[in-house]
Symmetry: C2
Subunit: 345 residues, 2 copies
């Protein structure tokens, strides 16, 4: 028994890691993904592998999570990979791209469609190992001060939106705005911007956007879902016992299911309250959706021509989308549509 002791100790070393989040504590459903991951890892290892999560800005700026994990300032990060669109647009395939995948498709592409291998290959140059660690579901299209009835209504529209959506929408006359979360409300109120998208009903409600920009558009076609990511420094990950590496994977899966459960249970209640307080729900007109889709395809063609890694990921991602969409229409789609019709009565 005495001889065995050091073996046990090596198998399950006591470790303390830090995880930097890109999300503020106030966006609790998405922020909790990182905290839950940390909690689950501790619980699975009897407290031996401890990870402390820090909200955006506390130890690392919100958008510096990738750099900080890459250079080992922190061992782990919880972030949305499309925040780094300016650095490397291919990173967006680990989060969301315009007219991409919904939650089920994203999970399937990553876990059974070759997606994970391609993402891991991409992350090598960042010295990062990634795991999916949360989904938001399809996001909303945002809050608009005025109605959007035609493509012409987009001309000159100052819209606070994700960078990739901005890249597409700028071709239709939109003037994309980069504004930090906390500054959106005053900008909308003053009319410095005309519209802003954040996440969905549960998070948007807390910001109060409906009081200053009542038209609430759907769908957020640039985020059929957002896959939130756990980033781990490659060297630190490689140095872990195999069991801890596997615990990280499994804890991420549980944090993923918990996050989408929270959104799916809380968004309906929040949407109802928002409508009760005057939010006006609107679908983007078909003409706007189609024009956006066409511009997105042009952007994809341009980016693919310049960036072979982007093209490799795009081709896999979009073939998977095109192959799975018709099936999802059949069983899932017809069931969902019947339930929608019959429960409305």
């Amino acid at each position: 028994a005495t001889l065995a002791a050091p073996v046990f100790a090596q198998d399950a070393p006591t470790l303390s890691w830090r995880l930097a989040s890109s999300f503020p504590r106030s966006a609790d459903a998405i922020y909790s993904g990182g905290e839950n991951l940390a909690k689950y890892v501790s619980e699975a290892t009897g407290g031996k592998f401890s990870i402390r999560a820090f909200p955006a800005g506390e130890i690392v700026p919100a958008l510096a999570v990738l750099d900080s994990v890459q250079n080992g300032t922190v061992e782990a990060g919880h972030t949305a990979s499309y925040y780094y669109f300016g650095k490397d647009p291919a990173l967006c395939f680990d989060s969301a791209v315009p007219f991409g995948l919904n939650t089920r498709q994203m999970n399937a592409w990553v876990n059974h469609g070759g997606g994970m291998d391609l993402l891991r290959a991409m992350y090598k140059k960042y010295n990062i190992v990634n795991f999916p660690c949360g989904y938001t579901g399809t996001q909303m299209g945002g809050w608009f001060r005025k109605e959007i009835k035609t493509v012409a209504d987009l001309d000159g529209l100052k819209f606070r939106c994700s960078a990739f959506a901005g890249e597409v929408l700028s071709r239709l006359g939109v003037v994309p705005q980069q504004i930090a979360g906390g500054d959106i409300y005053p900008s909308l109120e003053k009319g410095t911007i005309d519209a802003a998208e954040w996440i969905g009903p549960y998070d948007d409600e807390k910001q109060g956007f409906h009081r200053v920009a009542p038209y609430y558009y759907f769908p957020g076609w640039w985020e059929g879902t957002l896959q939130v990511s756990l980033y781990l420094n490659q060297d630190k990950f490689n140095a872990l016992p195999k069991s801890y590496q596997n615990v990280l994977a499994q804890a991420s899966a549980m944090a993923t299911n918990q996050m989408i459960a929270t959104y799916d249970a809380e968004n309906p209640k929040a949407l109802k309250r928002l409508i009760g307080e005057g939010a006006k729900l609107r679908a983007f007109p078909k003409e706007v959706m189609e024009a956006s889709y066409n511009e997105a395809n042009k952007v994809y063609a341009e980016m693919s021509a310049k960036d072979p890694q982007f093209k490799t990921l795009l081709d896999s991602f979009m073939s998977f989308r095109n192959e799975t969409v018709p099936w999802l229409r059949v069983g899932e789609g017809s069931f969902d549509q019947f339930m929608a019709a019959v429960t409305r009565k």
Copy 2:
């Protein structure tokens, strides 16, 4: 260091468990849920907690998994709780009920809608602790030798289907058939039965039903999804170190995501092949769907009047359904429908 050794040993004891599956190895996507669970638990514990999975019938009959876990013949089971409809219809809320929840809703109800507490309370009398351990997605409505155009076409129809679906459909004249998986094909071929449902394209293809009953109906409204369950003997579970209990939860989450990924990636390809070989895809007529929905509601009312636990579960499950369906139509539904329309061009 020598003093610490016994503590480590207690923290991470070496254990060998057996898991009895209700699924045959040939239904590999669903069967793998139990094998993956076992693999992940071993990987997270450095091989110390070992679980061996056995296919249906090898150590325990397919439909005796609940009994065997309850009485401790095996420590664990991987099964579909609606197999025990005859024993206790309330168990179906842990798997699938007619016109119930889709995959996203089921995950949300269980993990953030109060579902898990109700299920755990129900399983107490079976000395079982449950974890979700896989989803199939919305299943297909099955293979029919002749087309179903009206409710009258159901009269006298010998349909091999799940027990709960049979309970509903018998009110519309269907004669439900209980036939083991391996006997379905010959019964369909000879015309002993008129129709049969199994799972979905990926599993159905292997059985070859399309060669003898070409009309392939959707949706399987009795399974908006199937939640597959991990059953653990309560006493054995309680005796585990906390860390192993948590590993079981997390390994189940990963096995869950892996199963639905497999179905979502493989079903589209299988459906395409089936259509290529002559399967004729058909939607159940609206009149048939609505008549079934009305009969299902009557069945629910009757069962609730007799069984308070069934009623408690039904009320929670269906309120959750009715609250979440309108939201899922908005963002998710409009995104999915646009993608379906635009990728068809």
